[in-house]
């Protein structure tokens, strides 16, 4: 292995380096100035995010277990940008006294999950994929239990680890069947040897189910709301955006490249689960009072829309999924960012608490509204374009009924998103949440989200870039 080969793994190596540097810095840092580690990490992560965009060679390593292509690099870069925003948003939360002695844990755990996701996306072998998946999941469970003295947080951690173990078991069972019938776990060899016999399809279904847990697709979504509610808000936003995004990336890669032989089978599975996911996610979201649970169900339904990009098995579908995740990162982080700011300042997380928010916090209300409109797919913000392309991808292959159900679902979702807008703008309150003063990092994080929500849609060049390189995967 020559040194130039290492460049292929640049993302993973840089992330590992950052994690190690933080670990060392923690040892040498002045105990009274632990906060400085936050800015230090943010700068470091900003640098490697920027470095990720440098041109990079394509190639494969470890005998084909690890592959790097332009499309995979793009996915990693998108994830990096999302993680950067989450880190920026969590800066002010980490400054709280109760978190003082575990700042570095937060960063290290978070970054190691990103490393896992990167390996997962680059995998060319099911074992590599599985290792990446576990590395991406287990530290998250620790993060969910970050506020370990809070019962709910600890419960969220346990639930997440149990459900991950369970879904991993199902996934591995499916993989064992695939291995038993094809004799290999390399993606390209499995794709060649796959013959659509019953045992293989059974194996595929187990694999599908395992991934459905990770993506929280109905009927495998039941853990989502509890975990989202219990975990600290930035971990929740990480779960709903980055974890979900990474899982969707690798899922669509595997569906398109490993299982093209049984396209009709997985189209049926996705058809049914997409309808269930959108509809049930939306209907449950209507009843929620806690904003974290609310956003949990909203993110379930968003995963349902995402499946519309999967179903066509076409280039437009691949591009629209990647594009939508980019849009979704900015929109959802905008919404979670506002929830985080307000929860940090007041510990209030219910929709009722937001009554009359516009009177006291017009800026935050407007950001929240923009983010919600983007999630609902209202022009001129980015969500509109994202949804349009997803629907177009499904329509291109003639799934008009599915698109009809999806557009009707967007109306349901608009209803509950408007409930929050209503609370903020329409309902007058005697005791609205007081004016929240947010620090520099919070403003920066929210500002990035707003900029993204506005720019991504209009800048057609982004979509074209994504489309041009996404199919090389």
């Amino acid at each position: 292995m020559s040194s130039s080969n290492f460049l292929i793994m640049r993302h993973e190596l840089l992330l590992t380096a950052v994690a190690l540097i933080i670990l060392i810095a923690e040892i040498f840092a002045d105990p009274k100035k632990k906060h400085s580690i936050i800015s230090f990490t943010l700068i470091l992560f900003g640098v490697i995010t920027a470095a990720g965009f440098l041109p990079s060679p394509e190639g494969s390593m470890f005998g084909g277990m690890y592959n790097s292509t332009a499309g995979k690099l793009l996915m990693k870069n998108i994830l990096n940008v999302g993680v950067l925003i989450i880190l920026i948003q969590s800066a002010d939360w980490l400054r709280k006294d109760e978190n003082a002695d575990k700042i570095h844990e937060y960063f290290i755990l978070l970054i190691s999950t990103v490393i896992g996701m990167n390996f997962m996306i680059s995998s060319g072998h099911f074992l590599m994929f599985y290792i990446g998946l576990e590395l991406a999941t287990i530290p998250i469970a620790a993060l969910a239990a970050y506020d370990r003295y809070k019962n709910q947080s600890a419960e969220a951690g346990i639930k997440l680890i149990m459900i991950s173990a369970f879904s991993s078991g199902i996934l591995l069972y499916g993989l064992s069947m695939i291995y038993g019938t094809t004799g290999t776990l390399y993606f390209n060899e499995v794709a060649d040897l796959f013959q659509n016999n019953n045992l293989q399809v059974l194996g595929f279904i187990f694999f599908f189910t395992g991934m459905a847990f990770k993506l929280s697709i109905v009927p495998f979504h039941l853990w989502t709301a509890d975990v989202y509610e219990g975990a600290p808000i930035n971990v929740t936003s990480y779960l709903s955006v980055i974890s979900k995004g990474a899982a969707a990336f690798i899922f669509i890669i595997i569906l398109f490249t490993v299982f093209p032989v049984i396209t009709e089978t997985w189209q049926k599975a996705i058809y049914v689960t997409a309808i269930l996911t959108m509809t049930i996610g939306n209907l449950f979201a209507i009843r929620q009072q806690n904003l974290k649970r609310f956003l949990a169900f909203s993110s379930i339904s968003q995963a349902g829309y995402l499946l519309l990009g999967f179903i066509g098995g076409n280039q437009l579908g691949m591009a629209s999924v990647i594009y939508y995740i980019l849009v979704y990162i900015f929109s959802n982080l905008g919404a979670f960012g506002v929830v985080l700011v307000i929860s940090n300042a007041t510990n209030k997380e219910n929709i009722n608490d937001y009554n009359g928010l516009y009177q006291t916090n017009p800026g935050l209300s407007l950001i929240m509204t923009l983010a919600l409109f983007s999630l609902a797919g209202i022009p001129p913000v980015a969500g509109f374009f994202g949804k349009f392309f997803l629907f177009a991808a499904a329509a291109e292959k003639g799934f008009y009924i599915l698109v009809l159900i999806a557009v009707l679902n967007t109306i349901i979702s608009l209803y509950y998103y408007l409930l929050i807008v209503k609370a903020m703008f329409l309902t007058r309150s005697e005791t609205p949440i007081e004016k929240v003063n947010s620090g520099f990092y919070t403003k920066l994080g929210l500002g990035l989200c707003v900029a993204g929500i506005f720019v991504i849609g209009f800048a057609s060049i982004l979509f074209e870039i994504i489309r041009n390189i996404s199919y090389g995967i």
């Binding site: 209202i378 698109v403 703008f425």
Partner: protein, 501 residues
């Protein structure tokens, strides 16, 4: 920058201007100046359009500009106008201008009010200049969503309920349109080649009839919801009654026209084969709209509800005429859109001004207003007469043309529905004259009303602008119908080419 893009840019600049000024007075002035420029620009556009036509430019659309936006999906920012869109743009700028003056007295969150109002107008202008279905749809949704805040925050009565109902129903309509547009797009190259969203290009080909049967109803119902098509009209009375004055004006006057305009520019023009097969269903529904709306108006007690139901009836007539699919009726449909737009805006403006003085909209609680506030009362009578189709005002020209066009079909079905629809004229006369009699004539019922002041200068600006336009169309309809008639030619040709009638 081309003149059409200015119609979107100026509202955006006005919004930016409003953001940076401090007190209420400045907000009003900036809004008025911005929309005043828009009005002048519309006049310039009409002039430019007419002189280009006079010079013998026979293109289907003029001032076309086309910028590639999303290359892989062949989405363009494409704009262009024909006589119909020029007329609609002129209508919109008049109503918005009048609307700014009608909402001079908004004091609660003034800045936000004018920003939302102008944002709505931006969407409407953008919709009328677009010839690319994607940008058209984008602007359409942009026009709908500010309604939620406008009604929800500044409305009256059960405003939260009405705002939610209106928004969800209209967005439901746009959901159907979205599906219809995707269907049109993926069938826009039946012989291979690149798909397109461009209306002019799609109109040159014939979308496979099997696809048309699927997507014509979706598109038509989608736009029909905004055009108050029975039974999807229920958002309209609640929404209009709860909305603040300027919003009712803009909504009934302009936004509902988006429905009618979209119905023929997209649904009928691009899919005439399916339209001719399926139009009987919608003709029945629109006839119900026309008559039901008029009857609904008779029994209402609230001025705004009366006018909202009357809008259902009149906008139903637009869709009715569109479905008749011949030159005369389509001509009538467009004139009716303009005429109803101005007239209903005038009505809602006056209702808002009367309500601002008497603090009631229940007709039985008022009386003898003619003696107290003669200017507003006379204006109300003029609006009423225009609404019931008095010759010399715009309503007459429109309705006459529509019914003549509808009667050109010689089969029994068309004759029967036309006769049914014509009966609405009589019913309209009943509810208009009833309101005039109770509200304006007779003794003063409430002594508190005896000392009301008549219209202020800004209210007069608003009212006179609208009355002038209504009378202008009524007295000199020919330039308008020539302008429209020529532009209808390609649409009619396309329908004829489909081998119908």
């Amino acid at each position: 920058m081309d003149i059409l893009t200015l119609f979107v840019v100026i509202p955006v600049l006005t919004i930016t201007g409003i953001l940076f000024v401090k007190d209420i007075k400045q907000v009003r002035i900036v809004a008025a100046i911005g929309m005043g420029i828009q009005l002048i620009l519309a006049a310039v556009l009409v002039f430019m359009y007419l002189s280009a036509r006079k010079a013998g430019v026979n293109d289907e659309m003029l001032f076309i500009k086309d910028y590639l936006w999303f290359k892989s999906l062949n989405i363009h920012y494409a704009i262009g106008v024909d006589g119909i869109s020029v007329a609609m743009i002129a209508l919109t700028s008049i109503v918005v201008f009048a609307g700014i003056f009608a909402s001079w007295e908004v004091e609660f969150l003034t800045k936000e009010f004018f920003i939302s109002l102008i944002l709505l107008a931006t969407g409407v202008f953008g919709f009328f200049i677009s010839i690319d279905l994607f940008t058209m749809f984008l602007f359409y949704e942009l026009a709908v969503i500010p309604m939620y805040l406008l009604i929800g925050i500044w409305g009256s009565g059960p405003k939260e309920y009405s705002a939610m109902k209106l928004t969800l129903m209209l967005m439901g309509g746009s959901a159907l349109i979205l599906l219809g547009l995707l269907g049109i797009y993926f069938n826009s190259a039946p012989d291979g080649g690149q798909f397109t969203f461009n209306i002019l290009e799609i109109s040159k080909i014939t979308i496979p009839v099997s696809a048309q049967r699927l997507f014509f109803p979706l598109t038509f119902i989608g736009f029909g919801i905004l055009g108050a098509l029975f039974p999807f009209h229920t958002w309209s009375p609640d929404g209009h009654a709860s909305a603040p004055t300027a919003v009712s004006m803009l909504h009934a006057g302009v936004l509902m026209k988006l429905g009618g305009y979209g119905a023929f520019r997209v649904a009928i023009f691009l899919m005439p084969e399916a339209a001719s097969e399926l139009n009987w269903i919608f003709i029945i529904l629109t006839s119900i709209s026309v008559v039901y709306g008029a009857f609904g108006a008779i029994v209402q007690k609230d001025l705004k509800y009366i006018n909202a139901y009357s809008s259902v009836s009149h906008c139903g007539l637009v869709l009715f005429a569109v479905l008749m699919m011949n030159q005369t009726a389509l001509n009538g449909a467009v004139i009716q859109m303009i005429s109803h737009g101005l007239m209903t805006a005038l009505f809602f403006a006056l209702i808002g001004m009367i309500y601002g003085r008497t603090h009631t909209r229940i007709i039985n609680e008022m009386g003898g207003l003619m003696k107290i506030i003669p200017f507003l009362s006379v204006a109300y009578v003029i609006a009423g007469l225009a609404s019931l189709g008095l010759p010399g005002l715009s309503g007459f020209v429109a309705e006459m043309t529509i019914f003549v066009g509808a009667f050109q079909h010689t089969d029994t079905f068309h004759r029967v529905v036309t006769i049914v629809a014509v009966s609405s004229i009589v019913i309209t006369a009943v509810y208009i004259l009833r309101v005039v009699a109770i509200l304006l004539l007779g003794p003063v019922k409430d002594e508190h009303h005896a000392h009301l002041t008549d219209a202020k200068w800004y209210e007069k600006v608003s009212v006179i602008t609208l009355i002038g336009s209504v009378a202008g169309i009524g007295l000199a309809p020919f330039w308008l119908s020539t302008m429209i008639g020529k532009s209808l030619q390609p649409i009619v040709n396309k329908i004829l080419a489909a081998g119908l009638f």
